[in-house]
Symmetry: C2
């Protein structure tokens, strides 16, 4: 069973959250080693920087041919407990090796 | 005289650092209002998330037609005082309205 918090079994999507950056580097490298040719890395808010770092570490240390082929930004609305809305930026990076 | 810490007089480049995100939103909107058709927003490390936020706030509140047309990631090596190198991710977003 894979770690559900970083990888979904149904797709090549890695969700980057608040864990150590190396967790996500490992997730990226593992996905490619399992035969994936394209991976999507998603993050929102402060985790966006970590997602970018993870792709760069994966490229420089493990998969030199890795490229970011796509970049999409959206804004998600979150509702807080008092009913007010706050917006958070969400980024999807598409990686190919 | 423009604020040199966020804008360079010689180009349409906005450097995102540790100021409040609205400082950079204002810088983006001002550049476009001054007639720029294309702006580059640069950030590294933890400021990458702030740069993405600034583009989204500028789009949703001020310039609805704003699009991110380019996205480039590089890794910069910084030398620390003890002579060791650390790497930091750097992102350049290209905006058009």
């Amino acid at each position: 069973m894979e770690d559900q918090s970083t990888q979904k079994p149904d797709g090549n999507i890695i969700y980057v959250g608040s864990k150590n950056v190396m967790s996500y580097v490992l997730a990226i490298v593992t996905k490619f080693n399992q035969g994936s040719t394209e991976i999507q890395v998603k993050a929102r808010g402060a985790a966006i920087s970590r997602a970018v770092d993870a792709t760069q570490i994966a490229k420089h240390r493990f998969i030199n041919t890795l490229e970011i082929t796509g970049f999409k930004v959206t804004t998600e609305e979150l509702q807080s407990e008092d009913g007010s809305n706050s917006r958070v930026s969400s980024v999807t990076l598409t990686l190919k090796k």
